[in-house]
Each structure stands twice: as C-alpha cells, then as structure tokens.
C-alpha cells in the first residue's frame, strides 16, 4: 500500500489529470451535455491537440538544454502552412515535394535560430522573439493577407483519415490492433523484468510492477474501445505515437539525450566532460524548427486552410505544456512523457470547458491559473521534500 501511495506521489501529474477528467465528466453528465468520453469526442480531443503535443515535445528539448524557450513556433507554423498552401493549392504542386520542402524549410529556420543562440550566444528569448515577428511577417507577405483553401484530398488523407478506410471494418481492426499492442507491451515488460532479475540488476517491487502494468493496459484497452466505436484509428494518432516514442527514446536512452540533460543541469561541467555544448544547443533548435514544420502540416490539414492568423499563441500552449509537465525553467529537468501529459491536460481543460459552454475568455483565464498552480505545487512539493 505504501508503495502505491509513493507511486501516486511520484506521478502526481497523471493523478491530477485523472481527477480533472473525472470532475469534468461529472459536470458534463449532470448538465446534460453528453459525455467527455463519447467515442466521437475522444477522437476530437486527439486531433485537436495533436499539434500542441508535437510542439511541446520539440519545446521540451529547448527547455532541457539550459532553460531556453522558442517563442517563434506559432509564426513558423503560419509561414510553413502558407508555403504549403502556395505550393499545393495555388500552383497544384506535387504533394510529396511540398511536404519535403516544408520540412526542409522548418529545419533551415531552426538552424537560423540555433546559429544565433548556440554560436553567437544571443539570449534565446530575444532571438525567438525576433523570429516570432520575422516569420509572421513573411507568412503575411506570402499569403498576401488572404486565406488559402481547400487542400487536395490526397494531402488531407495523410493527416485526417482513419485506419481502416471503411467504417464497417473499424471495430474489428481497432480491436485486433489494441489486443496486439497490449500483448506486445505485457510481453516486453515481463521480458525486461526477467532478464534484469537474471543479471541481478535492481528491479522495482512486484506490487508496483503489476500496478503500473495494470494502468497502462487499462488505458490502452479503454482508448482502443472508444476508437473502435467511432471511425477507427486516426492516422494522426499513429504519427503522434511514432514522434512521442522516438523522442522519449532519444531523451532517455541515448548519449545525445543524456548530454542534453547535463548541458541544462550544469553547462560548465558538461563542457569539461567533453560535451560539445554549442552543437547540442544548435541541434535542439534545428529539431524545434523541424517539429514546427510537422505541426504546420498537421494544422493545415486539420483546418483545411492556410490562414494568416494560423498558429497564433501555439508557442504559449507548448511552453505551458512543458512546465505543467514538470520541466524546470532553469533547464536540465523535464520528460517527454510529462510534456505530453501537460499538453493533454491543457487539451482536456479546453475540451471540457467548451462542452460545458464556458465562455472562451474564461477558458483562457482558467488555463493561466492552472499553469501557475501546477508550477507552484511543483516548487512547493520540492521544497518540502528537502
């Protein structure tokens, strides 16, 4: 029992998310607005928040490396959306070429920021504030102040479609995929535990091992069930899963990730340990540019348009998600999982309040308060621990 309490304490953010979801569900049920966990709404939450999750993952790497942030991502999303629109809609360009050009452009913009921040050592706040204005301006120039739409269906299907194509197959296929995922997960964690025990490595207690596994399986089955009862698995969810798993692996398991944490934790120590800190910081911004481009492609597909105001305020959502997810504003601390949960947290707040019909201005206020509260609780709980 103590172990479970301890684990809940360590995963307090996840717990808070569950509590908030339950509270919303009760409020929504009582007020007769249906349910937050209707299959339709569940799919909505995923597609509504996909871009925030992608941006938050990129932002997290900037924050870990020395507490830098990138204010320009919203403007980059607008600019790259505009470029995509000009190529695909105005000039009937090849879809794949358009995607490649957009991703490359994102990388170049990231390199532009990274150069000033990592090699010339201009504070990231200033560089990306300038970038925010520069790229918003260029986006407006490219669009000439107009909105471009609609996008070709062969482009949209890569981001807004569902697997399978026909709704009739949705239930069977989704169920099968869910069961396979559950099986793979369970086998993988059991194998990992057994091989660790064999080598006499440290393992967590059996109770917490089972508890953790039960939660993940429950979440997988639950989401699988909801998706199965709607149109199946959204393509965007597959893309998100790949991105999140890849970056979680990068942060946790690779030399690059380890060095980035060391850079954020103590730059001088990292340098004296042979870490090329400048290059690492540069790469964090190149990566941010790349993921901004991915988010831009997702956004234009979702709205089926490239608008001058696209991406407004996205940078704040992404930064907020990282901080709610436990990243430190001074760098060196933060996890991909935390950033994703932070993004989902904000998404659930948006979605729940929208269903309840709460005024948009109030929604903003509440989100701000939640961000502050999350960080205050984090800081206070750490103080008490000492």
């Amino acid at each position: 029992m103590n172990q479970i309490v301890d684990m809940l304490k360590r995963n307090s953010l996840l717990l808070a998310l569950v509590v908030v979801m339950v509270l919303f569900e009760i409020a929504i049920q009582i007020s007769g607005h249906g349910s937050m966990f209707s299959p339709q709404n569940f799919t909505n939450i995923i597609s509504q928040n996909s871009y925030v999750i992608i941006l938050a993952v990129g932002m997290l790497f900037c924050i870990i490396g020395c507490g830098n942030i990138d204010l320009s991502v919203g403007s980059i999303v607008a600019l790259i959306g505009a470029v995509a629109g000009v190529i695909m809609v105005n000039n009937d360009g090849n879809v794949y070429m358009a995607i490649a050009i957009c991703l490359l452009l994102g990388i170049l913009i990231g390199a532009w920021h990274g150069f000033w921040i990592a090699y010339v050592r201009i504070p990231s706040f200033i560089v990306t504030l300038a970038g925010m204005m520069i790229f918003r301006g260029i986006a407006l120039l490219v669009l000439d102040g107009l909105t471009i739409s609609p996008f070709p269906p062969e482009y949209l299907r890569y981001f807004t479609a569902f697997i399978p194509k026909h709704r009739a197959d949705a239930f069977t296929l989704t169920t099968i995929v869910t069961l396979i995922l559950v099986a793979v997960y369970v086998v993988a964690v059991i194998y990992d535990r057994v091989s660790k025990l064999k080598k006499n490595y440290e393992v967590e207690t059996f109770a917490s091992f089972i508890f953790k596994m039960a939660i993940v399986v429950f979440a997988l089955v639950g989401s699988g069930f909801l998706l199965a009862n709607n149109k199946g698995i959204p393509v965007i969810l597959v893309l998100l899963t790949v991105i999140v798993l890849f970056y979680a692996f990068l942060a946790n398991k690779t030399v690059t990730g380890r060095r980035l944490y060391a850079l954020g934790g103590n730059e001088k120590a990292a340098k004296l340990s042979g870490v090329n800190t400048n290059r690492l910081l540069f790469l964090a911004y190149v990566n941010m540019g790349f993921l901004s481009a991915v988010a831009a492609l997702v956004c234009v597909a979702r709205f089926n348009s490239a608008a001058p105001t696209a991406g407004n305020g996205y940078e704040l959502d992404a930064i907020g998600a990282c901080f709610i997810g436990g990243a430190s504003a001074y760098g060196g601390v933060g996890t991909v999982g935390g950033a994703v949960i932070g993004a989902v947290f904000m998404g659930v707040l948006n979605n729940g309040m929208s269903i309840l019909g709460i005024d948009a201005n109030w929604q903003r206020t509440v989100k701000g308060l939640v961000l502050l509260l999350a960080v205050v609780i984090d800081v206070l709980s750490k103080k008490r621990a000492r």
Binding site: Y201, T254, V255, R259, Y261, A269, L272, G274
Partner: protein, 524 residues
Amino acid sequence: MSNTAALLEMKNITKRFGKVTALSNVNLEVKQGEVHALVGENGAGKSTLMNVLSGIYPHGSYEGDIVFDGEICHFKNIKDSEEKGIVIIHQELALVPYLSIAENMFLGNERTLKNSNNIMDWPRTYQRARELMDLVGLDEDPRTLIKDIGVGKQQLVEIAKAISKNVRLMILDEPTASLNENDSQKLLELIDRFRKEGMTSIIISHKLNEISYIANSITVIRDGSTIETLDNNNHNVSEDRIISGMVGRALTDRYPKRQSKISDEILLDVKDWCVSHPLNPSRLVNDHVSLNIHRGEVVGLAGLMGAGRTEFAKSLFGKSYGVNIHGDVTFKGKKCQFNTVQQAIDEGLAYVTEDRKGDGLVLMNPIAKNMTLANLEKISSRSVIDKDKEMVIANGLKVDLNVKCASVSQDVGNLSGGNQQKVLLAKWMFAEPDVLILDEPTRGIDVGAKYEIYCLINKLVEQGKGVLVISSELPEVLGLCDRIYVMNEGRIVAEMPRKDASQEVIMSAILRNSGKKKTTNSEE
C-alpha cells in the same frame, strides 16, 4: 608608538562548523592608530576571524568576546558592525560595474534631498564624492563608470566608500593581490598616511615584504589558533621570521605511505606553455611554464591562489581557458595537441576541477549519471545507453571509492562535500585516463575523507598512472607528492624532489618571487 590603548580586542574566539573547529581560542588585540597585519596560510582561519568580527557569523554562533572601544559587542549582521565603524574591504571588490564612481560610493547610504529619503540629491552626491576622492587621491570624474577604471582605482573607491561611513577600523583583505607594483606602492602609502592621521587598520596579506614595510604589529594565525603577535614598530621583523611562524608545524602521519614505483617513462611533458587572459590578452597568465610527469609519479604544483595553476590545467585540458595558447606537449611519447576536451579525454588526460559544484558535477542529476558522463561511450552501443550496465558500473565505483549514499540514483547535490569529491573522482577514474590533474582535491572536506582521497591517489599511481596535484595546502603537497613544482605569478619558480622540500623552502620561493616581475598589465 606612544598610543597604546586597544581599539579592538577579540578574546578567546572559538568558531565551529559542525564537528570542524575553524578557530580555537583566538586572541587578537589591535591598538588605536596602528596598522595590524594578520598573516597565515590559506585556510588558517584569517577570513573566518574577520567574518566573526564583522557580524557575518552573528553573535551566538561563536564563543568568546569582541571588545570594541571598551565595550562588548554583539553584532548580529554587517550593518551592526558598520554602525560601530568597522568596515571590511574584501579581496573581491563589491562594486557595481555599470554604476558610476559616485553612485557606488553611496550605494546603500545615498545622499538624498532634505525633505525626502528617496529622491537623490545629485549635486550633493557629486560634491561629497569629489571630496572623498581627493582624500584618497583618486583623480577621476565621479560620473565615470566603475567598469572603465582599473582595479587599483576601484580599490580606492572602496576605501573612499569606507571613509564615507565614518570608519574607525578598516580591514583590508588582500588589498594588493590584484594590483601591480606601482598601484600597490601607492595604496600602501595611502594606508600609512591614514595611520598618521589616526586611522586604525587591519591588513591581511600574503606579501610579506609589504607587511614588514607597513605593519606596526603582526599576528600569525595557524590552524585556527593564534601563534604569536610580533612587534614591528621598527620594521625589523624579517620575512623568514614570519614564515617560520606561519608554517612551523610537525607533520604527522596524515598521509598514507606508498611504495614509490616511478618509472623513467615520461607520460606528460609540457614545454614553454604560454596562456593569455581571455579578457585581457596582453596579460600572460602562464609564462613559459615547463613541467613533466613520470609514470607512477605524484607531482605537486604548489603556489598561492591566483598563481596560474588552475589556468594552466584548464588551458592544457582542451583549451578550456584563455587565449593565445601555445607550447609543446608530448603525451605518452608523441607530440600532441588537445584542441577540444573530447580529444584530451580520448587521449587519456583527465582534469578534476577545483570547483566541484560550479563546473564539476551536475548537482540535480543522480550519482550514477554523473559518474558516467565523461565516458558515455563505454556504457552505450551505437549511441544507445545501457542503463543496467550503468547501474552496475556506478554501484561498483560506489563500493570502490566508499561513497556514502543510500543509492546511486540519489541526486549528487544531496551528498556531503567529501562524498561529492569522491563521485567527481570516480567520474574521472571511469574515463580511464593515463594522467590525472587533480585541482585542490581536498578543498573543504574533512580529515577522514581527505585520507581516503590520498589513498585513492596512491592506488592510481600504483596502477601506473601519473598524477598532478594542484594544492594550496603545503602540508598536503609535502605529504603526498614525489616531486614539487612551485608556481608564482604564472611562472614556475622552483622545482624540487620531496626530500629537499619543506614549507619554508616553498614559501620563500613563492614570497621572494612575488611582485618581482613587471606586469604587462596596462592598467594605469
């Protein structure tokens, strides 16, 4: 001196930090109108004593009495002592670079308009600043920014600031450490002039020639105790006399014995190493430094703080410090150039920093992650880290080095200084170097942990590595090293085998060479 009334008496001051006794029954008596010098090695307790006097360590945290002007004082903070007229001018000047001379002079003590205590009275500020600057002989516009004047003049600003507070006892901590000869001379003359006008001052300095020249009395502190107070009114106390007071201590077996297995093979040979200061390239921080380390040898690099030893180590270690670095390096028999830290590590050089919190450890990361940071290649394949392997290695190092912690997943920041130092050492042992440069490896750690670190050093050289120990503690250098280089003001001034070395020899090598070199420093 005819005036013999004591202005300040510190009686039986004892100050403990946990189990460590920093000061034990220290007595200091400063007479009205004299310049009193306080001398002792680094770590002897001079600064601690001054911190007790100024209230940085408040009344109640130490034992003993401070009697100032005939009355027992209970200072709770610096403000209390300043109200009595006791002002300390620290070695690290506490001036704001982007404020003007006048603004700095009255910082915290601003001249305001008559009917207000918040609106600055600029004419009066500048007027008063002018008067004070004339008093200390500082010829500048009071509107000049602090960053635009040299260190010597900044020192004068500090003194003017002290005078503006109606100072009765002025304490100068290493006032001439960063000054060139000319500025030092001017400063000493100024202190002497103030003395004639009746000011009392305490001066802490390593430059014994200056002390014999200016001080009326000299108190020697060693190992946290007062050794003696010498009368120097006739300026007849010799430097040798002061040195023997400072270092006269018998060496006990605080240093583990080892079988010397020095081979003829030279692991690291550095010739004519020159490094310039990064912000002031005309200033040489290392001036044609040459030294070598044999396989299986512990070499000491002795000197005072600021002698250029850390700068030598850092500039050698992948050019981590300084500009215009040049010199010949032969490493394990072949010519070498370490252009990056990674290259130096790959070749087999390790630098264990003196500042373990500032640039040694990532305090918010666990012990295990700190131990492997300099050699992640060894625990990873194709850039993917094997965390289980990491845990095994970290646990092994923890046992080998006797790191006292609950688990290697614990954050390094929560460990004691001695254990942090062991983690830092473990990190560099895991990098598998051939030569280790240990910069102040036992600074601020207790005697027991020190002994363990010495044992580890012995183990390293038994394995055939070469170790360079940079230390400001002479007993440590003497107890530990096979051969000793002495560095002063960026140059190697002496080299001696252990059998010829003693504290007196080293101290005189340092002190006799102090201030002899004309600095290329272009401060006016």
